[in-house]
């Protein structure tokens, strides 16, 4: 195999985060917002305890199921086209809704270890800010490399943030501006993994998960 630049060429050793303002047209992001808030899958987060009190659902898929994902969630298609890195072959997609008084404690994404023990962290994590309440206070994304904070990003509407998957990160508590679910800080997140071919069969081609478990 010829030499592959690290992180699919998206990052360097001293580059931890990219932010693209106005990553998608307003009407596309509004469609994503409507799809998330209108989804029957939406419920309390099924992710790790660090996500306690937040809302969402998750979708695991391999690259070969990308068209199926777009069929099932057409509104998410433009986000996936904009965010997915070419060298990655497995993904965990999840809307994240954070209301007043809630945040996400510091953690490193390892969602795919649910299927592949010891796989570790993703190559990158991409976050699209779907709804940022006008008077939002808090809800900052903080990113850490070896214990040192390397980025603190206030959510900006319609922006796309991608950070390296080996970084610890947190969302500080939302202090005000998001009193109910429909007015929450809403982001659409995709963890992007490069799973060795020999292990890829352990990752479901397509699996929806909510707090009540897996769904077809």
């Amino acid at each position: 195999m010829s030499f592959q630049p690290p992180w699919g060429g998206a990052f360097r050793l001293h580059t931890f985060v990219h932010r693209t303002p106005d990553a998608l047209p307003v009407d596309v992001i509004e469609s994503i917002r409507a799809a998330i808030l209108g989804s029957s899958l939406l419920g309390e987060s099924n992710l790790t305890e660090q996500f306690s009190g937040t809302y969402g659902f998750s979708l695991t898929f391999r690259r070969e199921a990308l068209s199926e994902v777009k069929d099932r969630f057409p509104a998410f298609g433009p986000f996936l086209e904009a965010a997915l890195l070419p060298g990655c072959n497995a993904f965990l997609l999840n809307p994240l809704l954070v209301q007043n008084g809630r945040g996400v404690e510091a953690h490193m994404d390892r969602s795919m270890e649910f299927y592949v023990d010891g796989l570790g962290c993703p190559i990158a994590v991409s976050v699209l800010y779907v709804q940022v309440p006008e008077h939002l206070s808090g809800g900052e994304l903080r990113v850490y490399h070896r214990g040192q904070r390397v980025a603190a990003l206030s959510p900006r509407p319609h922006s796309l943030v991608t950070f390296r998957g080996d970084l610890m990160h947190e969302v500080t508590a939302v202090e005000a501006g998001a009193p109910e679910l429909s007015a929450a800080r809403i982001s659409l997140v995709v963890e992007q993994y490069r799973v060795p071919e020999s292990l890829l069969a352990k990752v479901p081609v397509f699996e929806l998960r909510t707090q009540t478990g897996a769904q077809a």
Partner: protein
């Protein structure tokens, strides 16, 4: 055993309570490496700490945190699989006491099956507390798990070689400008390597790291049937 550090107990406890810090100091035997931990995120939950000893042989510490005393320390139950630290289950406590403007760290452990086991665990804790002192002083003690996670963005032997060179220079204090230039140079040139050459260099690197000789490789391929002239 005891060790005094200049920082106050609150600062020392942070290195115990913060998962990003505890992995920099806790677990590895003298000269060994902490590879990673499974479980044990909650008090009472079983954990399994995967380690290598000073000779690179695997060993495992299993156990559970029995109690955490906020700001003051913790108690733990532990046993070993592999290595020379015995097989019996022991209990240990690590307590932080304000002393002389800093903290006296007290470790108590027992019961041991023999004086040799007690001495082996004294040496074990000495290595751990030495790292703890460095962590609380603000030193970025080298941590396998941190480098492992960071290196996950790199692929194939040549990627790993590039990672090792670059991070080795970073840890040695090279400026970010120097590193950035070197990164671009390496990636630009490596990308021009014919795939055949990249594969061959990768094979050499793997063989060197695994410590095998070409003759060993030939024997393995022949199922050991070939005899030397």
């Amino acid at each position: 055993m005891e060790k005094w550090v200049a920082q106050d107990p609150r600062q020392v406890f942070k290195a115990i309570d913060d998962p990003a810090l505890i992995r920099r100091w806790y677990g590895a035997p003298p000269g060994g490496v902490r590879l990673g931990q499974e479980g044990g995120e909650e008090v009472g939950e079983l954990f399994r700490l995967n380690l290598l000893d000073a000779k690179g042989a695997p060993l495992v510490q299993t156990g559970r945190i029995l109690a955490v005393y906020p700001g003051e320390g913790f108690s733990i139950q532990m046993a070993w699989e592999g290595g020379s630290l015995g097989r019996g289950m022991t209990r240990a406590s690590l307590i932080l006491r304000p002393a002389d403007g800093g903290t006296r760290i007290e470790v108590r452990q027992g019961l041991f099956s023999s004086p040799e086991m007690r001495e082996a665990h004294r040496v074990y804790w000495e290595a751990n507390l030495e790292r703890l002192a460095r962590v609380v002083s603000g030193e970025a003690v080298p941590c396998f798990e941190e480098f492992w996670e960071e290196s996950s963005g790199f692929v194939e032997p040549l990627g790993m070689a590039a990672y090792t060179v670059l991070v080795g220079m970073r840890e040695a204090g090279a400026s970010s400008e120097t590193l950035a230039q070197l990164e671009e140079t390496l990636y630009a040139h490596f990308a021009r390597l014919p795939e055949e050459t990249a594969n061959m260099l990768g094979a050499v690197l793997r063989a060197r790291l695994e410590g095998v000789t070409p003759r060993d490789e030939g024997r393995q391929e022949d199922g050991g049937a070939r005899t030397d002239r």
